[in-house]
């Protein structure tokens, strides 16, 4: 048997010796496995939905005015759908390129956490540009709105609260991890010092999500939040085309705002999941064995927040799966459905209740 053949055999023997729980744990340590799980979850959900829909009534036909209103939002839906796919693709490409093609030893690769945030930011910035330059048109027949429209008018209430909570957790994680980090000889806060008490040996210094990682990523998160806020506001405050299309346009704007919030939340979840995964690695250092010439000494290492770090490591796949589900949901809803599908359910005459006769 060749050396290569032996290596493959050892690998499979090692895999087969794991129990199912260990195997699942090993699989969940790969971020792209979270993508596969999310795809499976969504495929299952899609099958159930299709089975239910086949028993439901067909949707009403689209009215002429609703169709024209829907047409105005077609490109915005497409931009968001492609943007959601783009975030997944950017995440996968960065993972493969960094992991298999680049040698980045001794490099503070903060961009690995910032990539999903930046790709979400680019998707929303393109949408914002489209809304400002193409999506805000002079009304054909002005309609007075009874409600004051703000950035939160069309956004999903729970989604906005969840995303705000996520931003707070991100900030708290960055600050907490930064405070416990230590600098290297070049002043980069990339280490976590884990002392071995009652010994003369140097503390262990594994790489950690310190300020060198946290600060650039949190700056990107702040930029993403700003762009999301401006996008939601621009989506809300633009005038409606006609009194007859107000309800149809409101629904389209709800969908755009919801998708924008989902993409922003998913970008943050992927970044935070990665940070938690990195922090989680630090929880595994508890025992150090130093051996020389057949003699070895075991040292107990203690880090105060080790259990917290382990918990963060377990939460990270859940965050990644949630992020991928959100992105796939947005992509499926906006790229596969007919543009007028959602809007077809409008009763145009009811739109008059929001306008002046």
């Amino acid at each position: 048997m060749t050396q290569r053949g032996k290596g493959v055999s050892v690998f499979w023997n090692r895999i087969l010796s794991l129990n199912p729980l260990e195997l699942l744990g090993a699989a969940l340590s790969i971020p792209l496995f979270s993508l596969a799980l999310a795809s499976l979850l969504l495929a299952g959900h899609g099958l159930i939905r299709r089975a239910r829909r086949s028993a439901a009534k067909p949707t009403p036909q689209t009215g002429a005015s609703a169709s024209s209103a829907a047409a105005q939002y077609v490109l915005e839906r497409r931009i968001l759908g492609i943007g959601a796919v783009g975030v997944i693709v950017a995440f996968a490409i960065e993972y493969v390129v960094r992991g298999y093609l680049l040698n980045i030893s001794d490099t503070v690769d903060w961009w690995r956490y910032a990539t999903p945030v930046l790709s979400a930011l680019v998707a929303l910035a393109v949408l914002l540009g489209f809304i400002v330059f193409r999506g805000t048109v002079t009304p054909e027949r002005p309609a007075v709105s009874t409600a004051r429209r703000t950035w939160s008018s069309f956004g999903p209430r729970r989604g906005l609260i969840g995303t705000s909570f996520l931003a707070v957790v991100f900030l708290a994680t960055t600050i907490a991890a930064g405070l416990v980090s230590s600098p290297d000889d070049r002043g980069r806060f990339i280490y976590l010092e884990i002392p071995a008490p009652n010994t003369t040996i140097d503390p262990l210094r594994p790489w950690f999500y310190g300020w060198a990682y946290g600060v650039p990523v949190i700056v990107c998160v702040a930029a993403l939040i700003a762009v999301t806020w401006v996008t939601l506001r621009s989506n809300a405050v633009r005038p409606f085309l006609r009194p007859q299309t107000v309800v149809a346009e409101q629904r389209a704007r709800v969908e755009i705002a919801t998708s924008a919030v989902y993409i922003a939340a998913a970008g943050m979840l992927l970044a935070l999941g990665g940070a938690f995964r990195f922090i989680g690695q630090s929880g595994s250092y508890s025992n150090l064995t130093i051996g020389d010439d057949g003699l070895s000494n075991a040292y107990e290492l203690s880090w105060r927040y080790a259990s917290l770090a382990v918990a963060a490591g377990w939460v990270s796949p859940v965050m990644e799966i949630t992020a991928f589900v959100l992105l796939l949901l947005v992509a499926r809803r906006l790229l596969r459905s007919r543009p007028g599908g959602e809007l077809s359910q409008n009763r145009e005459q009811n739109s008059m209740s929001n306008t002046v006769r």
Partner: protein, 125 residues
């Protein structure tokens, strides 16, 4: 006490007067509840494709007629005396319409059921 004819001095074809009449219609028909905030002057101007000054003039007319009250930081709100229903009730009616519409209910049926429930609850000791 009657309302002052403040609009008399304004040109009948003025866009500000049009906006004033539209909002007066919304308040009189009960579509805007007591204490409910009006859209900002900028939003109204943008929605109707007019200058912000024109929308501001319309809001001033509404204020002079006692239909709205403007307070710093609180914005422009519908005056209690001018509204048909409180803002909370109007908001719930809007939600009811949205919900009924989503469920494919008929407006006449909804109104009839509302009337029956109202009478039943009113007669319950």
């Amino acid at each position: 006490m009657t309302t002052q004819p403040t609009t008399a001095a304004i040109d009948e074809s003025s866009p500000a007067l049009d906006i004033y009449r539209q909002f007066r219609g919304l308040i009189a028909s009960g579509q805007l509840g007591a204490g409910e905030r009006l859209p900002t002057v900028r939003q109204t101007a943008s929605d109707l494709g007019v200058a912000a000054g024109t929308a501001a003039k319309a809001y001033k007319l509404l204020e002079r007629d006692g239909l709205v009250v403007t307070r710093t930081a609180a914005g422009t709100r519908v005056a209690d005396s001018a509204a048909v229903l409180p803002a909370s009730v109007v908001r719930r009616i809007r939600d009811l319409v949205t919900e009924a519409e989503a469920g494919g209910a008929n407006a006449t049926d909804v109104i009839e059921v509302l009337r029956v429930i109202w009478q039943t609850q009113a007669n319950t000791p």
